[in-house]
Amino acid sequence: MKNTGQLSRRQMLSAAGFIGLAALTGCGGGEDGGDAKDLSKKQNGAMKEYRVGQQFKASESLSFSILHNNNPIYPMKDGWLFWQEVTKRTGITLKPVAVPLSDYEKKRSVLIGAGDAPFLIPKTYHPSEVAFVSSGAILPVSDYVHLMPNFLDKVRKWKLEPELDSIRQSDGKYYLLPGLHEKVKSGYSLSFRTDVLEQLGLNLPTTWDQVYDVFKAIKAEHPDKYPFSDRWSTNTPFPAAALLSYLGQAHGVKAGWTYDNLSFDTKAGEFVFTGATDAYRQVVEYLRRLVAEKLMDPESFTQTDDEAVQKLLGEKSFAISANPQELVQNYRYNLGKQVKGAKIEMVPVPLGPAGPVVMGGARLENGVMISTKALKSDTFVAMMQFVDWLWYSDEGQRFAKWGVQGTTYTYSGGRYKLEPGISLMGSNPGAPKDLQKDYGFFNGVFTYGGSWALVSSSFSTDERRFQDAMAQREQLPIDPAHPLQSVEQEQASLWDTPLRDHVTQNTLKFVLGKRPLSDWGDYVTELKAKNMDRLVGLHNTARERFKKENG
């Protein structure tokens, strides 16, 4: 049971280092396939005319290897209808390499480093592709998106160019085919025990000031309890990562999960250091007040998710961070069994000084990397067309999400309905089959993003209400592109991590009252000593350069 084989940091480093080496040797033979730009010899199986709205069908049967993130909730099966149907519709057989979700990133690094990676490497979250760029093992896909009409169409239709710019590297290319969203999909917010609020004659709060008042009122009624005990503090680099990220959003600053050392200050027209901004300080001050007045459980920043949920179920706390799934499947479900008359609701992210906004840049999802080896294959064009169809066409996205019409779902009046006997994430308890487990659809490897109609088609009532409210909000502008060159990148990552750690540690210290807020100036001085200004300078230079070179 011990994780004796756990990769140490040193092993990971040596792995990363070797990626470079392996790629150097790998690249020596890499140009055998002739001119990389000349695709005329790589047309096997490709369609001559492939357009938006057209079903992709390979002219001969082909197979492509793909890295498959094996989710324990729906473990991969060879007999999934998904695989058969893909082959039937496109003539492509996918050859999955199953990797346990628990260690997906590690194996991906090893496979790429060893030159043994499958052609298609999905489930890659930006910026993890950056580590492979200098090795040359990953294809600069932006050079080949002209083979992908659906991708281009969606980028144009949904005006995603600025988002795409944000993932470009210093060579002006991007190496990841990201998932594309028509609208920002919000994930997390606060949830409250509404029955407790009703007893106290309180309404659901809509601003952070009201949140404070509600907590105050609950505290007055239950002086021995903490009104709010939070989660998502373990297994993430940031404590209370969800809370900080949506509280930060209300202040217009990246914090928690979304934290990034660099933020673009639109007024000043330059990058600034996030952890030293006024907005960030306000976030910290707000939480400090909650903790100091015993409105928020100080263990919120260290406890496991289970502990936090147990406090909620044991009525030791009355509010907790939620996402629509957790709200329904965990809190409400378990409260219903345990606490008589308990009701819990999730509020749209309360408003803060920044007004009704959502963070920019959230319209890109995880996506697909493509191994450079694929370019040498004579079926390269067909593969790109296939990727375009499955991940980016309306039909492909609908298929990956809902399956086969008449077999797994019916569609009428703009609504998707699962066939009787099929359940999805507990929607139809007692059904003998499950859309994910038994058919292989709604699989996180293939299903994400898309039009709002498709994305919202699987929302529960709660989620629909939440998302509709959030969709009204204005998207903050996204940071301009500022890709670093590889030498700069190395320098930046040396500065980046200690700074980030310092911000995290001191956020906690300030919030928990272990450091007085009057120390803020000293804290900024410490950040400077850790090369804050040089890091910011580096990125500002990179932005200028990118602007000059790429317009």
Binding site: K2, G5, F18, P75, P100, G115, D306, L313, N330, G444
Partner: protein, 305 residues
């Protein structure tokens, strides 16, 4: 205080046969401390077993400690019907048996050879083994090696690279060295060949150390997940440990860095508990029976007065 007691107790032990009061107090304190250690060690096991028989709700509410609450067997039924779990379980048994057999043969032969003091180049052979304790080729070179030898997706990828544990090798070598050389000389005079001596004289005398090594190896192979995870590309080739690891750490990594929220349901806490119990059970059952060799086996190799 304790050290004072201890020194007094030691004096008591050496000078008087009748245990003094101080010695009895020492034994009492000792007993209490050790009992606490036992309790702390046993608690997680008992808790997991209790969880495995409990209802999901009771576990989530944190009510389960030492005794199952909301007793049910349905979770066991669910896991028993999960064919992939049993397939992986079977793999674990297969990988453990094959790997342990190979490891035992190789380690015994290597250790026996190294125990011969008059062997030419012995230092080099020992050095070669010890070198790998301190330096390794690294993850990716190993991966490339195993892959290019065509071992991927087979039991050999797990058995061969881990066949010799240098620590076990050195323990065995020390044990063989402690066997009186006269025995082997006598056997040689009686006409036994080198292999005969090993098989008919040395090995029968080494049961304790062999049992210990079998235990060491089999436990480590049973618990290992990394080689399988690295070299196996298909779910049906994975051992139960990878299944378990995916179930536990994979399913509870919160928001997966904030993204992909629609993949966020959790595997039931009781399913985790049942899987853990079933995976740990065989080792727990075997341990008490091999344990008696265990203590003698490891110390046998040590220097004696």
């Amino acid at each position: 205080m304790v050290s004072l007691l201890a020194s007094r107790a030691q004096r008591a032990r050496t000078s008087v046969h009748q245990p003094t009061r101080g010695y009895r107090v020492f034994q009492g304190v000792n007993g209490v401390i050790l009992t606490l250690v036992v309790l702390v060690t046993l608690y997680p096991f008992v808790n997991i077993i209790a969880r495995s028989f409990s209802g999901e709700r009771q576990i989530r509410a944190g009510e389960v400690a030492l005794w199952p609450k909301g007793f049910n067997l349905t979770t066991y039924k669910i896991v028993f019907h999960d064919s992939m779990f049993w397939r992986n379980y079977g793999n674990t048994v297969l990988y453990t048996v094959v790997s342990t057999v190979i490891a035992m043969v190789l380690t015994t032969c290597y250790a026996y050879v190294l125990s011969k003091k008059d062997l030419k180049g012995r230092g080099v052979l020992v050095g070669a083994a010890v070198f790998t304790m301190f330096f390794t080729g690294g993850l990716i070179p190993n991966y490339v090696l195993v892959t290019s030898l065509g071992l991927k997706n087979s039991v050999w990828a797990i058995a061969l690279p881990n066949a010799i544990s240098v620590f076990n090798l050195l323990v065995m070598k020390a044990f063989f060295e402690s066997l009186p050389s006269e025995l082997e000389e006598a056997a040689e005079i009686d006409g036994l060949s080198t292999y005969g001596i090993l098989l008919r004289i040395v090995l029968p005398l080494s049961k304790a150390v062999i049992a210990t090594m079998v235990l060491f190896y089999s436990v480590s192979f049973w618990n290992s997940w990394f080689s399988a995870y690295l070299y196996m590309d298909r779910t049906e080739l994975m051992p139960a440990t990878v299944y378990l690891r995916n179930l536990i750490s994979g399913a509870t990594t919160g928001g997966n860095a904030g993204a992909g929220t629609d993949q966020l349901s959790q595997v039931g806490a009781n399913i985790q508990a049942v899987t853990i119990v079933l995976t740990a059970l065989p080792i727990l059952c075997v341990y008490p029976f091999v344990q008696r060799y265990f203590v003698s086996g490891v110390t046998l190799g040590a220097v004696k007065g």
